[in-house]
């Protein structure tokens, strides 16, 4: 089994936004499952990490929540992306890519002097 990772500070919000962007409205369980699967189970989210993050996004106006019936007829709270959330996702994704490129460049194998 792959090595377990902690969720890096600031990346969880991006993952949640992206998940909601791809899958549409989803409950907390669904979000957690999706993130774990996407990470090939290298990430596990306990509730104490996931739910405060959801509350924060809701407070910031990037997601909204409403109670709905789930696919197997259970009441669940569904989170969906707001237009502001969509913009935030685009912005954060761009910044993250830039940062990743930058770090990658720094960590690139040293070139031997000619």
């Amino acid at each position: 089994m792959a090595e377990k990772l902690d969720v890096k500070q600031g990346t969880l919000a991006l993952m949640i936004l992206r998940t909601l962007d791809v899958l549409g409205p989803l409950h907390g369980y669904g979000v957690a499952r999706r993130i774990e699967e996407t990470s090939k189970h290298r990430l596990t989210l306990n509730y104490g990490t996931l739910y405060p993050a959801l509350v924060k996004l809701e407070q910031e106006g990037f997601v909204t929540a409403e109670w709905r019936q789930s696919e197997n007829n259970r009441r669940a709270k569904y989170y969906s992306l707001t237009p502001a959330g969509r913009r935030q996702l685009a912005r954060e994704a761009r910044e993250w890519n830039q940062t990743a490129d930058l770090i990658a460049a720094f960590l690139a194998p040293r070139r031997e002097a000619p």
Binding site: H27, G28, Y29, N46, Y47, Y51, E58, Q59, S70, R74
Partner: protein, 896 residues
């Protein structure tokens, strides 16, 4: 924006807590259900599926807690909890809370009240525009009565032309005028000012306009600007007064405006006039007389100029003047001109007194805080077990500290709230005190800045108290609990701190008591001072019949006034119970503002001695007997010393000692002298001394006696004359009858200074009495608090050492010995405190030297008395715990 939105959502979350909690629980349980269902779908047994699901959640309760922290404002919640908790814990220790709150209220209240005065009188920026650029010029020379000579117009002219770093130099000449109203006449204090005065002072009108340079010189209409204070008092703030005509000094003057509220120096003002209001101020005597000084000068520093530059330039101009006009400046007298910031000169009389009171109040606060700190420490020990348990249950040290801080804040804020009540009462008393010292007393108020000061003080006190409490160190709770200890170690350190606090309390109390003692003795000495009058049964009333202009230029009016004064005198003398009535000016115990240089025939002054200056006073033949001023040598004036008879004078003892030491002055001749006589309506002829009068304390009981020359009332102008009436008893009862006589003979004249000698004395003593009373009450308060402090700390020490005492007693120590041991413990603290306090008192005495009279700043009697008193109270305070220690029953304590 999103951060703001999130913050608002969190604040809203504080209020929607319960609904959110249910919601959250349902959401989290749904998560568990879904995961369980998924696990079952994968083929797990339902029980195992649920177990796995719960395990993966990482704890539903913890998650709910994390969300809750995220959703509301956790610190607000826990502070609310702290406040609730603190209130509950204080309710349990009601006596403790009451003592602390009252102690702090006294300390904080006193400080707030006195700070409001210090701020209003000394610290607040002046209402004048750019008030910090305003300076006051003071002209002085060596010799008695010469510390503020004021300036002559030629001198002001030189300063105006010779000092570039002063952008504007304005003249202001105090002048009394008689304002005729519907309800009789009233003397008002006015100032004759140059047109640039308001521009220089940086003051503007709230109604109408102020004077400007166009109002200067002769041939312009006379105008006046009312001060805000006078306008409110006399015209009840009616703006309609602007533009009306008032009768001032029997001529019609237009009111052109009302000034913004502002302090004046050296006196409070009722109105400001342009120069044309006084013929005298346009006369050659005023405009050309270099030593005819009656003008105060205020100036404004030029942009970019510094005070030091102005001082240097003013000094140069002053030196040049003295060089050029030798006859106007006696080189031996060292004429000099000081440039003083206006706000400093306004506060110069009040400064020492106020800082003294502020210091005393601060000392009371120090003692209060020390006491509360001791109480808190002792209570802290009893609460240690509770704190340890709280720590063990998960409260961090930071949380515990915050809990204590909240508790202390509650206490100090309650103290501050009660302190406000004390401050409000105190400020009223203090304003009446400050009015005697400062023209800015009306600016004293309990405003936002003062409350800010109080709040800052309270928070500072609470913080200090919280930091003093020792808390368990992180990570040591478990061992503390395991050991079953009810107390943590570190007791020795804490004991040391408590003892240090007691020593400080005793020392500070001694300083305060010594200050109180010195001020009380000052007051007593002052009350004992001989006024120079043989009796207190003397009534004075001043009745100015003539305006200054009439006095100077209308001999017929002067003669008529003298007739009316004599008529008043005769009728007053005929009142039942009256021993004698006289006329004179100024009245006894009031200082004369008319001061001239004086010389004696055939007496050359030693080289380098400045020419003596003497007060000019007038007296009728009956004056000395009526006032009770003893005649030491020679005779009093006689009816025969009339206007055409030979010039005679009576001098006071100070002048006699100055001119004729060891000789008989009677028959010698003296004369007024100086360049100013060229302009004054008074001759420099020789006058024969016919008598020597005893000195009187004019201008305050602590004032030095100045040289005085009495001239016969008949041989001098009827300057603002008045009646002096002596009765055999209860002279104050004569006031209505005497007033009726004056009213009948001079229906329109103001009647001023209706006072008995006893009232004069009291007026001189009463500010000192307030001073002494304030500092004494601070001192007594301090001693009481300190006594409670000593008793408390010793009692605590006894209760902490009950075991030890029990062992000592069972090993044979008698109760007397135990008692001595505890007394000794207290005695050491007391001795240290006393020693420290006496040293402090020595320095405090030196600082307050300027407020003392007739007592040395290190007066041994006061210091010994204070030390004995403090020692007695301290030993008394030690006695109670010592007795308790002696009554310890070893059988009981050992078992416990």
């Amino acid at each position: 924006m999103n951060a703001l939105r999130a913050a608002l959502a969190r604040i809203a979350g504080v209020f929607t807590r319960d609904r959110g909690d249910d919601d959250l629980r349902e959401e989290l349980l749904a998560h568990v259900e879904m995961e369980t269902a998924e696990n079952v779908r994968r083929g797990m047994h339902p029980d195992e599926a649920r177990r796995r699901a719960v395990l993966a959640s990482g704890g539903v309760t913890q998650a709910a807690e994390a969300v809750r922290d995220r959703r509301g404002l956790p610190w607000l919640d826990s502070i609310a909890a702290d406040v609730t908790y603190a209130l509950r814990s204080l309710r349990h220790g009601r006596a403790f809370a009451a003592v602390v709150v009252i102690t702090l209220a006294l300390g904080i209240g006193a400080n707030t009240a006195i700070f409001s005065v210090v701020r209003g009188v000394l610290l607040k920026p002046l209402p004048n525009r750019d008030g910090d650029r305003l300076v006051y010029l003071r002209h002085s020379k060596d010799g008695p009565g010469a510390d503020n000579l004021t300036f002559s117009v030629p001198e002001v002219r030189d300063l105006r032309n010779g000092v570039p770093s002063l952008a504007g130099v304005a003249e202001y000449s105090p002048w009394n005028g008689i304002l005729q109203g519907d309800e009789g006449a009233e003397r008002i204090t006015t100032g004759l000012v140059t047109g640039n005065y308001f521009e220089v002072m940086g003051l503007s009108a709230v109604h109408g306009r102020v004077t400007r340079p166009g109002d200067d010189g002769p041939g312009v209409p006379p105008v006046m600007v009312l001060t805000h204070e006078f306008w409110m008092k006399r015209f009840a703030g009616d703006a309609g007064v602007v533009g009306t005509q008032l009768m001032l000094d029997k001529r019609s003057v237009t009111v052109i405006g009302v000034l913004q509220p502002a302090p004046f120096f050296p006196d409070r003002m009722d109105a400001l006039l342009n120069m044309v209001n006084s013929d005298h101020h346009l006369s050659a005597m005023m405009v050309e007389g270099r030593s005819h000084r009656m003008t105060e000068v205020v100036a404004r520093l030029a942009p970019g100029a510094t005070l030091d530059q102005a001082r240097t330039e003013v000094e140069a101009v002053s030196a040049r003047m003295q060089d050029e006009f030798r006859q106007a400046y006696n080189p031996a007298a060292h004429h000099r001109v000081a440039v003083i910031p206006f706000h400093e000169v306004l506060g110069e009389q009040a400064r020492l007194t106020l800082w003294l009171l502020m210091g005393a109040a601060a000392f009371v606060l120090i003692i209060s805080v020390a006491n509360v700190a001791n109480l808190t420490l002792m209570r802290g020990v009893r609460r240690e077990h509770e704190l340890v348990v709280r720590a063990a249950l998960g409260a961090g040290v930071a949380r515990l500290r915050r809990m204590l801080l909240v508790e202390n804040l509650l206490l100090t804020l309650a103290g501050a709230a009660l302190g406000v009540a004390i401050a409000v009462g105190g400020v009223r008393l203090l304003v009446s005190l400050a009015e005697r010292y400062s023209p800015r007393a009306s600016e004293i108020r309990l405003d936002g800045a003062v409350f800010g000061f109080m709040l800052a003080l309270s928070v500072a006190v609470a913080t200090v108290l919280s930091l003093l409490a020792s808390l368990p160190r992180e990570g040591r709770f478990a061992s503390t609990i395991l050991s079953g200890a009810r107390r943590m170690s570190g007791g020795v350190n804490r004991h040391r701190l408590q003892r240090a606090l007691v020593v400080v309390q005793v020392a500070v109390s001694v300083v305060l008591l010594a200050g109180a003692g010195l001020l009380t003795r000052t007051m007593m000495r002052l009350a004992e001072v001989d006024t120079g009058l043989a009796t207190e049964e003397v009534l004075t009333m001043q009745v100015p019949l003539l305006t200054t202009t009439e006095l100077m230029s209308d001999p017929r009016a002067d003669a008529g006034a003298k007739v009316r004064y004599e008529q008043m005198r005769r009728e007053a003398a005929a009142l039942p119970g009256v021993i004698e009535a006289g006329i004179g000016s100024p009245l006894p115990l009031r200082r004369s503002t008319i001061v001239f240089d004086v010389k004696a025939e055939g007496r050359a002054l030693a080289a380098g001695t400045p020419t003596p200056r003497a007060e000019l006073r007038t007296a009728s033949p009956e004056f000395f007997r009526a006032a009770g001023i003893p005649l030491l040598q020679g005779r009093t004036f006689a009816i025969t010393d009339g206007p055409t008879a030979g010039n005679v004078v009576i001098i006071n003892r100070t002048l006699a000692d100055l001119f004729f030491p060891g000789e008989d002055p009677v028959g010698q001749r003296i004369a007024w002298t100086g360049e100013v006589l060229r302009f004054a309506p008074i001759s420099g002829d020789w006058r024969t001394v016919v008598g020597v009068a005893g000195n009187t304390r004019d201008g305050g009981l602590d004032a030095e006696s100045r040289p005085v020359v009495f001239m016969p009332f008949a041989q001098m102008l009827a300057l603002g004359g008045g009646l002096v009436i002596r009765a055999d008893s209860n002279v104050a009862a004569l006031i209505p009858a005497a007033t009726r006589i004056v009213r009948r003979i001079a229906p329109t004249a103001p009647i001023e200074h209706v006072m008995t000698v006893a009232q004069y004395k009291d007026r001189s003593v009463s500010p000192r009495r307030v001073n002494a009373a304030l500092v004494s009450s601070f001192g007594i308060l301090a001693v009481l608090i300190a006594a409670v402090g000593i008793a408390g700390v010793l009692a605590f020490s006894v209760s902490a050492r009950t075991n030890e005492i029990g062992i000592r007693m069972s090993l044979g120590a008698g109760s007397g010995r135990v008692q001595r041991m505890i007394l000794g413990e207290g005695g050491v603290l007391l001795a240290f405190g006393l020693a420290l306090g006496v040293v402090g008192a020595y320095f405090a005495g030196r600082v307050m030297q300027g407020l003392l009279f007739g007592v040395a700043p290190n007066d041994p009697a006061t210091f010994v008395g204070v030390a004995v008193l403090m020692a007695a109270i301290g030993i008394g305070a030690c006695w109670i715990p010592a007795r308790r220690a002696a009554r310890v029953d070893p059988a009981i304590t050992m078992r416990a």
